[in-house]
């Protein structure tokens, strides 16, 4: 399995064979296991997305029936949320780099770490089973809103169980990271000398640990209602459908911070490295991560402005929503201030960083439109919302993930990729992404509803543009992946520190040895981003 440039003491060289991987308790190997699994599902999700865009290239039926379309967007949503965007950064880069960045040799519970990967695989199998048994994949949307989810004949029960199982994987990762950060930091690694990525993971882990059980129980309640007819959410059985929405979003809003906080952590790592100066406002970024994690619990009602929730509750939730925008904005200001007067080295990861800031800004600002009660009533369930969340999740988190792939690739595999090709792929991705999603914002304001396979003729042009964008984006993805695959086999040997980074992972060989360090790493008293330490 290891064709990476592995020196004799690298963790690749330690043991060989497939079993040495799928039963490994080494956090680096588990990170890579997650990497391959998650990336595979990401590609499946992308193909489903491309199919949807193809259907929407013209009004009326193009390539699929409405029922199939409903199942496709549900499966796309379920895969992208539960199998891709929630685990992607913590499970891959968190596992691989957190222990190294805080100067220890593994996470606190290595076996539980392996267990969480296996649980992920089992959950994924459940999600895939919905394709082959019964009436096919659920057609409810990834939100499984009751009472429809109780009534539909499609495989909601299996899909919901998949999400339930995947939740445990997420909880175990969060638990592991919290204990690791509390207990295993290197002796001189005080809390405020931790890299910001570690802080971001810490804040995220608390959300994973505390919020995930709520959705777990809620999804089980759907099963109880479907299988045993217990009246919880279906009014026909004496239940309350709005209660379902409350319970679902009590988890799923904090979950959007599970998706974006780790991405922000990565951005906070890459900016100092490529601006060659210490981060501006280290503590402000730390506190804003914790504040986002905390306030994020109190705003879930902004998904329910048109659900029939009471007037006063809507006002309260709208108000609280505006509070959570503040810490996010603090981060953006600090990143930009770090770039200011830095000696900026424009390499591939920095390009992704810039795209993140730009696209996250659009995602965040359109989020304010959704968060404001008066405007959301108009744009709710339109393509404006679809544009908004793709700007945040794809334009934000997934771009940060691509950036991190290029930033840490030399460390993980010991080789360097072709930067010119990487930059070309980035350009295609950036242009394709914006052509794909910006028209959705426009057509949403014009009033095109989401979750339909058809639309009125006046929405035709923006939809054509959007579909063309999806092809450009796909081309960029293919180029990016091909470039990295080639690099993994044939790239130039990268060396310890190709970017001149100062956090601990750059002080160890690439790829790292089994126990992470070959000599005791050095820590600066001036915090993790001290570029005078040499």
């Amino acid at each position: 399995m290891s064709i990476a440039a592995s020196h004799p003491s690298s963790f690749y060289a330690d043991k060989r064979g497939i079993l040495s991987w799928i039963f490994s308790t080494d956090h680096k190997r588990i990170g890579l296991l997650y990497f391959y699994a998650i990336f595979a599902f990401f590609l499946v999700g992308v193909v489903l997305g491309l199919l949807m865009r193809l259907e929407l290239i013209a009004p009326g039926r193009t390539i699929m029936e409405p029922q199939i379309y409903n199942q496709v967007f549900t499966l796309h949503g379920v895969i992208m949320i539960f199998l891709f965007i929630i685990p992607v950064i913590p499970a891959i880069f968190g596992n691989f780099f957190l222990p190294i960045m805080i100067g220890t040799d593994d996470v606190a519970f290595p076996k539980i770490n392996l267990l969480s990967w296996w649980i992920y695989v089992i959950g994924a199998i459940f999600a895939l089973l919905t394709l082959v048994v019964g009436d096919g994949p659920a057609d409810t949307g990834w939100t499984f809103y009751a009472p429809y989810s109780v009534k539909t004949g499609t495989n909601v029960t299996l899909a919901v169980l998949a999400a339930f199982i995947l939740g445990f994987s997420s909880i175990l990762t969060g638990l592991n990271f919290i204990v690791t950060i509390h207990r295993l930091r290197a002796p001189e690694m005080s809390w405020f000398r931790m890299p910001l990525f570690a802080w971001a993971l810490y804040a995220t882990s608390w959300i994973q640990l505390l919020a995930t059980p709520i959705v777990g129980i809620t999804l089980l309640m759907i099963v109880a209602e479907r299988v045993f007819g217990i009246g919880l959410f279906d009014p026909a059985l004496g239940g309350d459908p709005i209660l379902y929405q409350h319970l679902f979003w009590i988890y799923s809003h904090p979950a959007v911070y599970i998706m974006v906080l780790p991405a922000m952590g990565i951005i906070s790592e890459m900016i100092p490295t490529f601006a060659k100066r210490t981060i501006f406002g280290y503590r402000a970024i730390v506190w804003s991560s914790l504040a986002i994690a905390f306030i994020g619990y109190f705003v879930w009602g902004h998904h329910m402005f048109t659900s029939g929730m009471s007037g006063p509750a809507r006002v309260v939730f709208s108000l609280l929503t505006f509070l959570v925008a503040v810490p996010s904005a603090i981060k953006v200001f600090n990143w930009v201030a770090t770039l200011y007067q830095g000696s900026i080295d424009v390499r591939t990861p920095l390009l992704y960083t810039m795209a993140f800031i730009f696209q996250f800004l659009i995602g965040g600002l359109t989020g304010l439109v959704n968060g404001a009660l008066a405007t959301d009533v108009h744009v709710h369930d339109t393509y404006f919302v679809v544009g908004h969340f793709h700007y945040v999740m794809f334009g934000g988190t997934a771009f940060a993930f691509f950036g991190a792939m290029h930033y840490w690739f030399p460390k993980m595999f010991g080789r360097m990729y072709n930067e010119r090709t990487a930059n070309t792929a980035f350009t295609l991705l950036f242009i394709g992404f914006n052509i794909l999603y910006f028209p959705m914002l426009v057509v949403g304001i014009m009033g095109m509803p989401r979750r339909y396979y058809d639309y009125l003729p006046e929405f035709h042009l923006p939809n054509v543009i959007s579909t063309i964008g999806s092809w450009i984006l796909a081309a960029g993805l293919i180029l990016m992946i091909a470039n990295l695959i080639v690099a993994r086999r044939k790239g130039a040997i990268a060396g310890r520190n190709p970017w001149g980074g100062v956090t601990l992972e750059w002080q160890t060989p690439s790829p790292p040895p089994q126990h992470n360090f070959d000599e005791t790493p050095r820590l600066s008293e001036k915090g993790p981003y001290d570029f005078d330490l040499k």
């Binding site: 290197a186 619990y297 929730m309 309260v316």
Partner: protein, 107 residues
């Protein structure tokens, strides 16, 4: 064992041995059973004020959670940090109920 592998004990940690007798644990367990019986009673006795029975059930459940966390999960003997963490979680739960309540009580 390398220096960094040694378990670190926070200042003020009372995590020394705090062996609790079987008899004590059994008592706690019995208490939990009684509380469970009370939950069942409240629901089947059909007390007419439904709101009260919900509130009572929630109170009993919270009491049980508190007992489990303090004794079975040893929070009572643990460092104050962990008790504060537990407290924050309870607070969070309370806020969930209050915010959902704002919707239900003003509908």
């Amino acid at each position: 064992m390398a220096e960094k592998d040694k378990p670190r004990i926070l200042p003020g940690d009372k995590t020394g041995p705090h062996i609790v007798s079987y008899r004590f644990h059994f008592g706690i367990w019995l208490g939990l059973i009684i509380l469970t019986a009370m939950t069942v009673l409240v629901s089947v006795m059909g007390i007419s004020l439904i709101a009260f029975s919900v509130i009572t059930a929630l109170f009993i459940a919270s009491a049980k959670a508190w007992v489990v966390a303090s004794y079975f999960m040893h929070l009572k003997w643990d460092h104050i940090t962990y008790r504060i963490m537990g407290g924050i979680v309870m607070l969070l739960f309370l806020v969930f109920i209050i915010l959902t309540g704002i919707d239900y009580l003003t509908r």
